[in-house]
Amino acid sequence: MPERKIVIQKPALTPFNVVAGIIVVVGLVITVIRFTQGLGATTNLSDYNPWGIWIGFDLLVGVALAAGGYVTSAACYIFGLKRFHSAVRPAILTGFLGYALVVLALHYDVGRPWRLPYPFIVQSGTTSLLFEVAACVALYLTVLFIEFTPAALEWLGLKRARSIVTKLTLVLTIFGVVLSTLHQSSLGALFLIAPSKLHPLWYSPYLALYFFVSSIVAGLSMVIFEGSLAHKHFHDKMDAEHLREADGVALGFAKAASWVLAGYFIMKVIGMAQTNAWGYLGSGYGLWFLVEMLGFVLLPCYFYAIGAREKNLKIIRRTAAWTVLGIVVNRFNVGLVAFNYHLPSSERYFPHWMEIGISVFVVTIGILVYRFIVTHMPILYAHPDYDAH
């Protein structure tokens, strides 16, 4: 949109830029410490607690919250819900950035990051669920990159390349759903090997299913949540189609999220019955489990339904933010809180400030790159020279 190119020069030293700048500087300093002094100097990881928030937050939460890409593109291109078309590009972009940041964060976490391609080029441990996660994340990052390229190619004016890529849309979307199903579920299945370490309320043979189904909720909620943030900050970048469809996207996704949350709750109850873990509900962990199940599953399920029925976008947006928080709570519970529940509190893990610093740094980088891309490339509006694909 040519008229949108006329933007009033904003002052560079906005409060946001100052805070982001400080975070980036601190993050770079911690990065130097991490890669010169090792994990011991920057983390509270121990022999009992080999995985901290760089796995619990950056990997488990990061991948779940980046599910918007496959959920939205599947809804639009496979299920033929074309009214969601304007939501696909932003969702693909945040999915791509999410996965790229997950891979970036993994470089901090593993001991020898330069060996990350080893499972594919040196020796493959195919009996490992982590191999499945690694293979699918690597492939899906590639798929998301290709799915994202039309926006970049339109920005660069490379019409032929763009037309080739857009022909692949359906194949890429199906491939993306397959890969997402596999690795979203495998992230839960990672913990299947340690039944003696994960609290029985969270350990279940259905862990893989729980992670996959909750990733759908995460994806739907993230699209609504990001949409509301984008409306606040990038309203001038949106075209008529985006603005016209935005409310419909929120309403439709809220309805879907409500149904999926209801299904997720029922699965959880069936899983509880299977492992017969009812007895633990009375304990301290049981109370926390109930907070998760009632406060972060049933409550958003109810409010999504109300919001969709009454077409109340305010309720829907607040519920989306709450559900995103619920996903964080769930992944933290499985990866950190309920893991090693049997250890005395002196052996339990709490993150080092530098671990939190890197996680905040990674998220900040994501926001900065997102801002750069939506202000330069046709994400929230369709490029006038091209038809919608």
């Binding site: 090792g38 022999d47 496979i78 033929g80 020898r112 490992s128 596999l182 299945a189 370490k197 049997h342």
Partner: protein
């Protein structure tokens, strides 16, 4: 060149050693695996251990691990509950006041060398190998450092060199694999002054353990820890007090680690083959639905247009017919009128003629 007897025996020895090296466990395979035949193990008898820490010292020496801050003769370190770490492959912990015990009890901790190791199953670069002699060994040259083996190990044995920035390794007991190959005993077994550690083939050790339990039923709990725990381990423990009183978990179950993840892994081919078919089907259905909707719309429009057209035509025809009829009727009427007028005119004419004739007659 003739082959000397010495050289031949050397080759034979190398071949024998070769078979014991780096054979990975076929975790999650479809064949029944109950451990390598004649694989080795150690039986640890808690009732014999005196907590002298000699095994810790020997382990430290033969594995060339860094010296600890306090010497191994210092027994006060056992006041704290310790575990294996990056500089320690084995530790002995003291357990006071175990119910039924006369004095303090000691338990040695090291890698149990599972028959089907969780660490090997969990490793995504196959850095761990279950050797046919029973030892679970680790190859640092491929390790990425993800530490999933530490998550997976039910005995909490693998440790990590967190303080190394460039070459961190997983550290764990190797069953003195290099020594076993040379025909030597593991360092800890060799030094133990109390014969608390018995080295041998695992199946023989199980017999020995049963014999001891059978001979002294009052002295032992009737259970061999490691016979079935997590699918069985090369190291076995017998004790006079319940194992939980020695900090050993009794809730591990008998399922080998690969079995726990088998179900999740078996889903991969199902998803990878079914999803594309189903999703293409869903796509085709939604496309077809759209197409049919479009066609139905087009058909409805066409019908409506046709109907409107035919109606208009009929109306036109009718109007034309009516117009024709009206025209004809008008013509008829006019003709009739003209005829009538003509008739009337004729009649008037003849009447006038009749009236005029008598007038002419008298004249």
């Amino acid at each position: 060149m003739s082959i000397s007897r010495r050289r031949f025996l050397g080759w034979l020895g190398a071949a024998g050693v070769g078979t014991t090296l780096g054979r990975s466990a076929h975790a999650a395979g479809n064949t029944l695996f109950t451990g390598y035949p004649d694989s080795l193990g150690v039986l640890f008898d808690v009732t014999r251990c005196i907590g002298c820490r000699k095994c810790e010292e020997a382990c430290n020496k033969v594995n060339e691990l860094p010296a600890p801050p306090k010497p191994f003769s210092e027994l006060a370190v056992m006041e704290r509950r310790r575990r294996t770490d990056a500089k320690t492959y084995t530790v002995v912990n003291r357990y006071e006041n175990a119910p039924g015990a006369k004095g303090p009890l000691y338990r040695k901790i090291q890698c149990n060398h599972c028959l089907e190791p969780a660490c090997a199953s969990a490793c995504f670069v196959r850095a761990f190998a279950k050797n046919s002699n029973g030892a679970v060994t680790y190859d640092e040259s491929v390790c990425v450092g993800c530490r999933y083996c530490m998550i997976a190990c039910p005995f909490e044995i693998p440790a990590y060199e967190y303080d190394k920035a460039f070459t961190p390794r997983i550290m764990k007991c190797t069953f003195c694999h290099p020594r076993l190959i040379k025909g030597q005993l593991p360092g800890c077994v060799e030094i133990c002054p109390a014969e608390a550690l018995t080295f041998g083939k695992r199946r023989n050790l199980l017999k020995i353990a049963r014999e001891r339990i059978g001979l002294f039923p009052g002295r032992y709990i009737d259970h061999i820890y490691g016979e079935t725990e997590m699918g069985g381990t090369a190291w076995l423990t017998i004790s006079g007090v319940p194992f939980r009183d020695l900090g050993m978990r009794e809730d591990l179950g008998t399922t080998a680690a690969p079995e726990l993840t088998k179900g999740a892994l078996s889903v991969v081919p199902v998803v990878a083959s079914m999803w594309p078919v189903l999703l293409t089907g869903v796509y085709a259905i939604s496309q077809r639905r759209d197409k049919i909707a479009r066609e139905e719309q087009a058909a409805a429009v066409a019908t409506a247009v046709a109907k409107a057209q035919s109606e208009a035509k009929a109306k036109l025809t009718e109007a034309m017919a009516k117009a024709e009829k009206d025209k004809k009727a008008a013509i008829d009427k006019e003709v009739k009128k003209a005829l009538e007028e003509a008739t009337r005119a004729k009649a008037q004419e003849s009447a006038a003629a009749t009236a005029a004739a008598p007038e002419k007659k008298p004249s």
